[in-house]
Symmetry: C2
Subunit: 352 residues, 2 copies
DNA sequence: CTGAAAGCGCTTACAG
DNA sequence: CTGAAAGCGCTTACAG
């Protein structure tokens, strides 16, 4: 049941437009369709004369190969899917950029989706991407429902967990040691004499990175014989306004902490700005630290102490790892380094 | 040349895995492949009994349709491509989020790519997206090379120009009147008595929005009998550090302007911060205004005057417009409103 | 190095 | 409402 008005290698001139396809290219060039395909996909297997001739015809006819047909025939789409909770947050944005570059270098296209920190939405997007035939997947975090996990292994699709690191994960992980990063921050602040801590964590629901950071902080404090009282542990999203509001809450709690750790850069900026509004001098009266080193953290009048994660590296390595898996090479995952960047908002604990 | 070890409707049980497909679903359900397809795509055309039976089998077998095959057979992929210069900049990030939601509501998937303000890269990404079979395209801006333009019309793919507005464009435009937005800002500042202007424009290369804003500013000034001297017109990227650096340059130029307009929010933040460092009081000694209303603009100690564009609306309407075109409905494009938000960084011109 | 032809997994007019 | 079957536009073993 032909959809075109005519048939045969040349016959399509009748109704509608000829819709140039590989078949027409082959006909005009006087070669088989196999040869055209080879010129495009494995040019080294074709004689130079034919290669040149075919390429000229392709150019002249302006043929654009149909990726759906190619995917169907070759069982591979040349696309990698990535699902991020959000696209515009500092660390993620940088990783996405780096990932796209790394994939492009290997001629893969990145299909990007955003789950809004919603587990169901992520699963549903993963299904859509797989249906659409991505060859591999980059996911954020390593915690998912049984059904989602089962789906992933049933589909036998290679994927990596980004922004987390766990050697025992079933999929390769490419990310920082979230708990360890926070422990480093705690150690740094304890070394400054702080004993009364508070935290404005990033919402931990559907966010195993944030949860790991919170636990990392708790464990590190415990190691020093310290603890955070419940009223000094709050959660917020990713905004300056939220950081301000929650800082007020922390301030009202007793005992007033001398060291506040924020779960992301925007919360930290909000807290620092609100401290100024409240007339609290940093760091003499209180130390504030963040997580994620966006430009804002260093450019504000009071540069903010934070944890820097090489997010470009996360994106680049995540991309390379999926590609390695697709090529059947060993894919190991990699722990990405993080480090405390001490700046003006932290200092020795005030004397009592 | 079968790739599977066996053939026939049931025969694939041999080697490898059965790879459940529509064919197996049909066989198990005891219906034709046509019926399975209808159950999935036009369920209302199938009797309830069959629909239920088939859906159970689909569920039980965990069948995931192959989008490549579907695209090839139906000549439509259910995907819309979008190419943005960058993904994480305030206005773009918001538009992308809104676009994704609007597309998802119509069951379209968004394929997102990033051109880095590079015209060649954009053209090449457009080709890749079209090869990959997107049904439509959302592009940023309305200026492109002849070859790119020709490609777009040859492919007969519906697309919209986002973030610009031009009634005479060959494709529907969904965006603000960039020149008019800047003219409004000029009018506002002139009404405050300013006559000596400077601008830190966003780089205008490959950016017709930034160019339009610069020209809009020039024209508006001319209407008031004013002009910007060359040394008071500089260009920068999207960063606080750049805003700081260029503010220093503006400050060193003669005559020193009393009103500075910045091409984006980060440049404005940098300029405002650097003004503070330079001991220049805003707005008594100088007025500074930005463009784009990110959270930063209102949350810093000195809230910054800016132009707000409803970017969510840009994304939403752009998505709806492409969908309308795909459905063969009239697609008109739409001018998105922008408005000046006066805040603390602007005020009456200082007396000489 | 090149070609003839089957097959990838769906959709959809056509006939009933 | 349902089914038999052609066709979507490529790729790729197989044979030469």
């Amino acid at each position: 049941m032909k959809r075109n008005g005519a048939k045969g290698a040349f016959g399509t001139a009748a109704a509608g437009k000829p819709r140039v396809g590989l078949r027409q290219v082959a006909a005009v060039a006087g070669v088989s369709t196999a040869t055209v395909s080879r010129v495009v996909n494995r040019p080294e297997t074709v004689s130079e004369a034919l290669r040149i001739r075919v390429n000229m015809v392709i150019e002249q006819l302006g043929w654009v190969p149909n990726a759906a047909a190619r995917a169907l025939a070759s069982n591979s789409t040349g696309a990698i899917g990535a699902i991020f909770p959000a696209l515009a947050l500092g660390d993620f944005a940088r990783a996405i950029d780096a990932m796209q570059d790394a994939l492009a270098a290997h001629n893969y296209l990145l299909l990007l989706a955003r789950s809004q920190y919603d587990a169901d939405q992520e699963f549903s997007l993963a299904r859509k991407l797989v249906e659409r035939g991505v060859d591999g997947l980059v996911l954020v975090g390593g915690t998912r429902s049984e059904a989602y996990d089962a789906f992933l292994s049933r589909m036998e699709i290679p994927y990596v967990n980004a922004f987390v690191f766990d050697e025992n994960s079933r999929a390769p992980c490419v990310g920082p040691d979230n708990a360890g990063a926070m422990a480093d921050m705690v150690d740094y602040l304890v070394s400054l004499g702080h004993t009364k801590f508070a935290m404005i964590a990033q919402t931990t629901r559907n966010n195993d990175r944030a949860a790991a950071r919170r636990e990392g902080l708790r464990d590190a404090l415990a190691r020093h014989g310290l603890a955070i009282p419940p009223q000094s542990m709050v959660e917020g999203e990713w905004s300056i306004a939220e950081g301000r509001k929650l800082f007020r809450r922390i301030l009202a709690s007793t005992p007033r902490p001398t060291a506040l750790i924020c779960g992301n850069s925007m919360l930290a900026v909000g807290a620092v700005l609100e401290a100024a509004s409240a007339g609290i001098d940093l760091p003499s009266q209180m130390s504030i630290a963040g997580y994620d080193d966006s430009e804002l953290m260093s450019e504000l009048p009071l540069p903010i102490t934070t944890v820097r994660v090489d997010s470009d590296e996360v994106g680049r390595v995540a991309a390379d790892t999926v590609i390695a898996m697709l090529q059947g090479r060993k894919a190991e995952g990699r722990r990405i380094l993080s480090k405390v960047i001490a700046r003006a908002t932290t200092g020795p604990a005030p004397h009592n």
